[in-house]
């Protein structure tokens, strides 16, 4: 067991730090949250700088245009960019972390050549069309239908929770191509051009008041069969494969951010006198332990990925269960530090508290995660 980095890793870190220190002050001002074209331009601009500096697709395989970095290097990259306050991946999220890796793993040479370079260079934005209003946690129950018609699929249905839909060029879309097959077996993966006729986007306002997400309605949209990645009806497997790219690093930036917030909470409590409340102070101490342990668990999972070359897989569910609860507790505690000001939605922590309500729901509710942990890790039987 060892928590030090190799000389090479430390070198990588030092070089990255120096670059961040140089480049961050040269960035344009951040656009306002409602300025979607501005956000697209800002996020793509940042991606282009990463590309020019050789950091684009750090964790992608070399043959997909990436750097083939180790999980530890990727962890260092995420840790340092978060610490330096670099822009978030933002509009590039789906392209870099999901659709891109899927195409890299399962696409044809032509598909890789068409779609991967623009993602890495910061030329094109992807969004994700997986969730559906009626499917919810039962993702594989999706009903958006694609019917083959010559060289095209004709796609109709509704998707939800599609972020950056307004400014995306492409959507990685899961559609049902065989309605008679068992639900996991009749799904295909398509690259949908967002400009295609029949695509309608409607912003979806969340309880935090923001329109981060959208609904997407598809009315007989024609998608070329050539845009299908993987075999027909093999889309469920195709999209699950992608998780192997993540290798334990999924929450690196978020844990770093939470630890920074915790420091700010302690400072604010000392400032406004709440620090003298033993109950609050001990809660802050407990949160220190939570996020310190989550950081160690991150390091452990990343090291494991590195050692085995494999996927952390369901172990990610253990992390997510603990993390999502801890982060909600962090913002509940922030509200106690703020006192009456916690009712001011103009305060960053209050908005974050609202957003944090989704952590136990999005990307698999805590209930679903506990099923996964119990059945796939602990080997408990499926119930009646």
């Amino acid at each position: 067991m060892d928590l030090t980095c190799t000389d090479a890793e430390e070198g990588f870190r030092a070089q990255l730090r120096a670059w961040l220190a140089a480049v961050l002050p040269t960035l344009p001002p951040k656009p306002s949250p409602d300025n979607w074209p501005g956000r697209r331009a800002y996020d793509l601009g940042w991606q282009r700088r990463l590309y020019d500096a050789g950091y684009a697709g750090l964790h992608w395989p070399v043959d997909a245009g990436g750097r083939g970095a180790t999980p530890t290097q990727h962890l260092i990259f995420l840790e340092e960019t978060e610490r330096a306050g670099a822009p978030y991946v933002g509009a590039n999220f789906v392209g870099l972390l999901h659709a891109g890796p899927t195409i890299a793993a399962e696409g044809t040479p032509e598909q890789r050549a068409r779609w991967l370079p623009p993602v890495l260079r910061g030329d094109e934005v992807w969004c994700q069309g997986f969730s559906e209003p009626d499917a919810g946690s039962d993702l594989a129950a999706l009903r958006t239908r694609a019917v083959r018609d010559g060289d095209s699929y004709v796609v109709s249905g509704a998707k939800i929770w599609t972020s950056h839909a307004e400014v995306a060029d492409w959507c990685e879309l899961l559609v049902r191509t065989d309605p008679t097959a068992p639900k996991h077996r009749g799904i295909s993966w398509l690259a949908l051009p967002m400009g295609a006729p029949g695509v309608t986007i409607r912003p979806l306002r969340t309880l935090a008041g923001s329109t981060e997400f959208a609904e997407m309605f598809l009315d007989e949209v024609r998608v070329p069969v050539a845009n299908r990645v993987g075999a027909e009806n093999d889309g469920w497997r195709v999209t699950m494969v992608t998780l192997s790219f993540e290798r334990g690093t999924a929450f690196v930036g978020e844990v770093v951010a939470c630890r920074r917030t915790l420091g700010q909470l302690a400072a604010a409590a000392k400032e406004n006198g709440r620090w003298d409340d033993t109950v609050l102070r001990r809660k802050l101490g407990r949160l220190h332990a939570e996020f310190a342990a989550l950081w160690r668990l991150t390091q452990w999972n990343v090291s494991e990925s590195e050692a085995t070359g494999g996927v952390p897989g369901v172990g990610g569910s253990v992390f997510k269960l603990r993390y999502s609860h801890a982060r909600q507790e962090l913002y509940d505690t922030a509200a106690e530090v703020l006192g009456a000001s916690s009712l001011d939605a103009g305060h960053e922590w209050t908005l974050d508290r609202l957003s944090s309500l989704s952590y136990t729901i999005a990307a698999g509710t805590s209930q679903i995660q506990r099923n996964i942990v119990a059945e796939r890790i602990l080997g408990l039987p499926k119930g009646r």
Partner: protein, 322 residues
């Protein structure tokens, strides 16, 4: 011979049914969503309707033109108000009946600011300052009345879209004498805490009803999600939170002691906040949208939990009272 002790009387049941029907008919979900989307609308109209029904004059003696009922009945109507997220300074306006001209008749909208709260308070907050005509200013042991327009306060972006909040910058004490001295302020704080607790209990029951209805209807993995033990047990715990809080509120309405009210406020705040969160968990992504009402319950519950008596204040009071 048996006698009904700690149960609703027939009159109380009728009152509850009456207010529930009135609220459903006049301030239903469409009205609520309209209020959410264009916040300042309709408070004055609502006050007229509520006043007609006797909402504000409920506890005023019949000889003073009131309905002549007690705290038990007041608690019941506030519970119903909390259940349907009725907005506005209902608690203060009702308590102001008899203290502030027009309050009983619903022609004056009354809010309050308490200048004697504990730590963790950047500055006192005042709700519905723009819509209010008068503000009760609680300072130490006294209650004074100020025209709402004379408040020096800046608006916040309130977390609850239905409860506009202002941060009081400077509160000049009104020139006139107090309308209620000594125990007046203490009593008003207690009664306000209790009626706020009643609204919290109503909210906690409301979110439970919503969760149960949704769990019966929403199907996933081939069955209603209410068939899954995890969802079932979430809902069961919501009832386990709401019921003792409700009886605590009713008991406090009967006895009126500071201890019983602290019990009621502490448990009702917890029931409202945690039930809203569990309801959100049952709703899943669907509860995370602006269009769902779950978040309105949660946000209002957060606001109420900070009004009149916080968990910290209640727990310290109750520790001393053991």
């Amino acid at each position: 011979m048996t006698r009904v002790h700690f149960q609703l009387t027939d009159d109380q049941r009728d009152l509850r049914r009456g207010i529930r029907e009135l609220l459903a008919a006049r301030f239903g979900r469409e009205a609520l969503r309209a209020a959410v989307d264009s916040p300042p609308a309709g408070l004055r109209y609502m006050w007229t309707v509520l006043a007609e029904a006797g909402f504000f004059s409920l506890r005023l003696a019949e000889s003073d033109g009131g309905v002549g009922l007690g705290m038990a009945e007041a608690v019941l109507v506030h519970e119903e108000a909390g259940r349907v997220l009725l907005p506005g300074p209902l608690v203060v306006s009702q308590l102001a009946a008899g203290l502030v001209k027009g309050a009983a008749e619903g022609t004056a909208v009354v809010t309050a600011v308490d200048l004697a709260r504990g730590p963790g308070q950047a500055g006192p907050l005042v709700a519905h300052a723009d819509a209010a005509d008068s503000v009760l200013v609680l300072y130490g042991d006294t209650v004074r009345v100020l025209p709402a327009a004379s408040l020096d306060a800046e608006p916040l972006r309130s977390v609850d879209p239905l409860t506009p909040l202002h941060l009081v910058r400077r509160t000049p004490l009104p020139a006139g004498g107090p309308v209620a001295a000594g125990a007046g302020a203490a009593r008003l704080r207690r009664e306000a805490a209790l009626l706020t607790a009643a609204q919290q209990v109503g909210s906690a029951s409301g979110t439970l009803d919503m969760a149960v209805r949704y769990a019966r209807e929403r199907e996933q993995f081939g069955q209603p999600i209410g068939g899954f033990q995890a969802v079932k047990h979430l809902c069961a715990q919501m009832l386990v939170r709401a019921e003792p809080a409700r009886t605590a509120v009713y008991a406090a309405a009967v006895t009126g002691t500071a201890t019983d009210i602290a019990v009621a406020k502490l448990l009702a705040d917890e029931a409202a906040v945690r039930n809203a969160r569990d309801c959100l968990q049952v709703y899943g992504g669907m509860g995370f949208t602006w269009e769902a009402d779950v978040h309105l319950h949660l946000k209002r519950a957060w606001v109420r939990a900070r009004e009149w008596q916080t968990a910290q204040e209640a727990e310290e009071l109750l520790a001393e009272a053991i």
